[in-house]
Amino acid sequence: MSSSSVPLIQTYAGRLPAHVVSGQEAQIIPYPNSRAPAPPPVEVVKATLGRPKLRFDFLGKFGATVFPTLLMLITLLAIWEISCSSEGVSFPSPSRVWSESHDVIVHPLKGVSIDSSGLHIAENGDVGIAGHIITSLKRVALGYGLSAIVGIALGILIGQSLFSYRALDPLFQVLRTVPPLAWLPISLSIFQDAGPSAVFLIFITAIWPVILNTAAGVQTIPNTYRNVAKVLALNPFEYFVRVMLPATVPHMFTGLRIGIGMSWLAIVAAEMVQGGTGIGFFIWDSYNSSLLTDTIVALIWIGMVGFSLDRIVAFIGRRVARQA
């Protein structure tokens, strides 16, 4: 019991030794050297050892994100290969796809030529898969471009005016549930021609998310921004350019991103009418010719291109949002 030799005093904080309690009067003690001049700068020796390690870190990080994807891919291919390689299974295995559709896989650019006057795609239909993709992308560009312009305009209209919102929103809500293929007969009867009706099909599929997201963006502009605009007495044009557009850009691009995905979904339906060219036609054609392996290759291409389109629109959206 050696500690009991220190006398303890009862305080608010409990029983404490006398020397702790004795400092009754609070006193501000200046921090030593608080006004002293800064110490002379120490010469910094640049280390050169860090670099290689950094590169390993980068590779490690890259590997950590890509490795699971690669592993999944290989596992999936292995399961597919094993389950489809036994006798009597009609669905082609990956190795059969590779051997039977070899030409389609390794010569995607057949019939596509580039010269000084631009890109040319052979007219006779004997075109590699990349050629079909390019044809489809042109149609999507037209249909999607139109839906972006019209969709944003309509979205701003119904977002800004409660009257037009009440008038048009029910119509849009009903029409947006109509599947792309259902528009096909209507589209054909309106345009009497396969080309424009394919573009219309893409347009009518992609426009709804653009309209509805833009409208939601306009409606959810924070009240404080509106108040700022009122206090500054911005005129309608200034309000549109300086406040509404920049505030709506993120929503707009959400709609545009969903829209590009849907327009790519509609392309197969659109090109079943179009005939002759395009990735949709290619799938239809390979199905009619019982070339299932070609269809599989086309599916992979469609998936990759759709993924890229989505990423491109997302990238543009981020850039515009930063500029706005």
């Binding site: 404080t224 921004y225 108040n227 700022v228 009122k230 206090v231 500054l232 007495a233 300086r242 920049p246």
Partner: protein, 267 residues
């Protein structure tokens, strides 16, 4: 004709329609403010002080009553009544300079581009934010954003400066340094200011006059206290001046004894 103050609220009533009939937020408010006066409006949450400020700003139409500014009836919002919002309300897609510039472009008609640019920078310097002119609001701290908000408002050379709980969202230390900045600005510019607050110390330190509001619904002015303290005021020295402590006590008494927080009473 009777004399009318620079800013005069006469018989202001504000009611909002609800399902169960109109909700009267503010009732029979008469308030006269002289030019160059700094008035703090204080009261518990929901007492209609923001509503009153919005009426002066023109953002809210009174159900009954009129607001006169320098003899003109206020009917709609305008840049002659700059508002400093609690959440600073800077546009995040514009830089600090562009945010102030937007306000200057609307108010500095007839000035050249160079003059406007100089005016923007001058006002940013007044709030010590010139160094951040090229930054976007997202890169700034809360206190810095509010400094820019103040710069935007004073750059409009308003006839009345309206502050809606300007420092409510800031931490205590930042708030103190912004209060000092506002006092320094006021010493230079001598604006007519209406500030909403629920901070008693802030009201006494900054204002020439503290207007206390009763609790809503149907809130009105309960007491009107003139703060007779010499300027410049110093937050540390002020605590030793009897008049400061007296004013503080008066307001605290009003807020906590006579018109205590309705939420506390309910609980």
């Amino acid at each position: 004709m009777k004399h009318r103050s620079f800013l005069a609220l006469e018989g202001i009533n504000v009611a909002f329609p609800t399902k169960t009939g109109p909700f009267v937020a503010v009732e029979e408010v008469d308030l006269s403010i002289e030019k160059g006066q700094f008035v703090a409006l204080i009261g518990h949450s929901g007492c209609g002080k923001s509503t009153l400020l919005n009426v002066i700003a023109g953002l809210q139409k009174p159900t009954r009553g009129v607001v006169f500014l320098d003899g003109d009836v206020i009917e709609k919002p305008g840049p002659d009544r700059a508002v400093i919002f609690q959440d600073h309300s800077l546009l995040p897609w514009l830089t600090v300079e562009e945010n102030v510039r937007l306000a200057v472009d609307k108010t500095a008609q007839g000035k050249t581009r160079a003059e406007r640019r100089d005016w923007v920078m001058h006002n940013l310097e007044l709030v010590q934010m010139a160094h951040a002119a090229a930054k976007r609001p997202g890169e700034l701290s809360g206190g810095m954003k509010q400094r820019v908000g103040i710069a935007r408002a004073i750059a409009m050379s308003p006839r009345v400066l309206l502050m809606d709980e300007p420092f409510g969202a800031l931490d205590a230390l930042t708030r103190a340094s912004l209060q000092d900045a506002v006092m320094a600005l006021q010493a230079q510019l001598n604006n007519t200011v209406v500030m909403i607050t629920h901070d008693v110390d802030e009201a006494v330190l900054l204002a020439d006059r503290v207007v206390m509001m009763t609790n809503g619904p149907a809130a009105t002015i309960g007491e009107d206290l003139t703060i007779d303290l010499p300027r410049p005021r110093d937050r540390i020295e002020a605590t030793e001046i009897p008049a400061y402590n007296h004013a503080r006590h008066e307001i605290l008494h009003f807020l906590h004894q006579r018109h205590s927080n309705p939420l506390d009473r309910a609980a």
